[in-house]
């Protein structure tokens, strides 16, 4: 069995070799006769778009919910918030991601009608974002609870309110601590974005399935797709370690090793 890389230069319309294969890379999809390489690059773009949007949703919601879970239960309001965030985490952690994607795509728009106008790209990103936010919330909670309790006490002794002590004392420390575990969650997110195929977002996995069927050059197609997933996850890893180095406070948090690859 030999690899036939030429498949990427074939037209997706008639299977003939196109004459602008590699120039196509730079003029994304502008050609009348797109090659499989064009399609692959577009699919990669969709994967990155889904991962990027859901990453934003996941980090904001995850940091918020994780913080709520650690609130001191001193009054009724806090008790409600702690309970709410705990329920949030349990709910989104215990349902498989694919089922959650179907819920957002098929079920929730039936109840909340304006969501019907949203394209599936948005719905998948929301699903992935909420799913990942539960995991990030757990990391953030662990990060906050890893801080010496003296920090919170000192903040209280200085007369800071709960909000102020979180804003100025606890979160600046905790959010730095959670960067390494957050790195592997972000890499998981890139990999999990592959479930978007199930609701026909034209991303890498859907490309792999369709192009494999059309060309019967499955190995070449899958190799390219797998490589792009690994490359994307690796890039996330490097970017996160850059952020970690940039935000490190000398003498405070000891340098942690690079987050292990994935899961």
């Amino acid at each position: 069995m030999s690899l036939d890389v030429g498949v990427f230069c074939k037209s997706t319309l008639d299977g003939e070799v196109v004459d602008h294969c590699f120039s196509a890379l730079f003029g994304l999809g502008q050609n009348a006769d797109p090659s499989y390489l064009d399609w692959l690059m577009k699919a990669w773009g969709w994967t990155l778009a889904v991962a990027g949007l859901s990453l934003i949703i996941a980090i904001i919601l995850g940091a918020f919910m994780g913080t709520l879970r650690t609130l001191p239960v001193t009054n009724g309001m806090n008790r409600v918030l702690v309970r709410f965030s705990t329920m949030w985490v349990e709910l989104f952690r215990n349902i498989p991601i694919l089922v959650q994607v179907f819920l957002w795509y098929h079920v929730i728009p039936a109840f909340i009608l304006p969501l019907k106008a949203l394209p599936s790209y948005w719905l998948v990103s929301i699903a992935l974002g909420f799913f990942t936010s539960a995991r990030i919330a757990e990391q953030v909670r662990a990060g906050i609870q890893a801080l010496p309790s003296g920090q919170q006490m000192a903040a209280t002794a200085l007369g800071l309110t709960t909000f102020q002590s979180y804003r100025y004392i606890i979160l600046p420390m905790a959010l730095r601590i959670v960067i390494p575990p957050l790195t592997s969650e972000c890499m998981n997110l890139v990999k999990n974005s592959s479930v978007a195929f199930a609701v026909s977002v034209p991303e890498l996995t859907l490309f792999a399935m369709q192009a494999q069927e059309e060309t019967s050059r499955g190995v070449e197609i899958y190799l390219a797709v797998t490589f792009l997933y690994a490359l994307s996850a690796f890039t996330v890893n490097r970017v996160m370690s850059l952020i970690e180095r940039r935000t490190r406070i000398p003498g405070f948090i000891t340098a942690s090793s690079d987050a292990v690859l994935a899961h």
Binding site: P96, L103, M187, F197, T205, Q212, G218, Y222, T226
Partner: protein, 222 residues
């Protein structure tokens, strides 16, 4: 506004559509857990052996499996196995092989951490008593390591149970598929997706509660 009607969900529908899928999901989870632990332990011992001929292949295997999306791994195996053995293979069997191979990589990391969590003095003491490497692992290190690992194993098994829904990519008939087909045949897709989510939630939530209880029981007090 859409109104929910669950009255169609009865025993007949359950036995006709859901049960088959549920049993497959459970079977897949159990086989992959057992197979994953067996091969994962082998991989972990390879990685800890210190011999480069064993360390590098095992490390490469584990890192590769962990950097590819599970859906792609499922598709890869579904493509490659028929190529290698020269005849088509069912989605069920393909999924089973895939999950054993995939979970082995994850369980090996758990086993490796578990072995490293056993104090080094234990291994040294066994050596001083004249035990061979095999005896040392068999009687001293692994029994303690596995005890430490039980809660993590169970957590991974819950994740695995959730991940089995991804066999959707190759069309195997699992719990999710059962609900989906029932929804199509009864014309009630929305209700069946809700029921699917509810079923998965109940199973995974109660299992994770049990894991938390066991965590306290198996902890070795030193």
């Amino acid at each position: 506004m859409f109104s929910l009607d669950l009255s169609f969900y009865n025993w007949e529908l359950f036995t006709n559509y859901i049960l088959k899928g549920f049993l497959f999901s459970v079977q897949l989870t159990l086989i992959a857990t057992v197979g994953g632990i067996v091969f994962g332990t082998a991989l972990a011992l390879m990685r800890l052996s210190g011999r480069s001929a064993l360390v590098y292949p095992a490390t490469f295997y584990v890192n590769t499996m962990r950097s590819i999306p599970l859906v792609m791994v499922i598709l890869w195996f579904f493509l490659l196995i028929p190529m290698l053995i020269g005849q088509p293979i069912g989605a069920d069997l393909s999924a089973t092989i895939t999950f054993i191979a995939f979970e082995a990589a994850f369980f090996s990391e758990i086993v490796r951490a578990g072995i490293q969590s056993v104090p080094r003095g234990q291994g040294f003491a066994a050596e001083a008593l004249g035990m061979t490497y095999g005896q040392n692992m068999r009687f001293i290190v692994l029994p303690q390591a596995f005890r430490n690992m039980i809660p993590v194993f169970m957590t991974q098994t819950i994740i695995l149970f959730q991940d089995t829904s991804l066999v959707y990519a190759i069309g195997a008939y699992d719990l999710l598929k059962g609900f989906e087909i029932a929804g199509k045949n009864y014309g009630r897709p929305i209700e069946t997706y809700i029921l699917a989510a509810f079923t998965y939630f109940i199973i995974c939530f109660s299992l994770s509660k049990i894991v938390r209880k066991i965590q306290f029981k198996v902890a070795i007090i030193r």
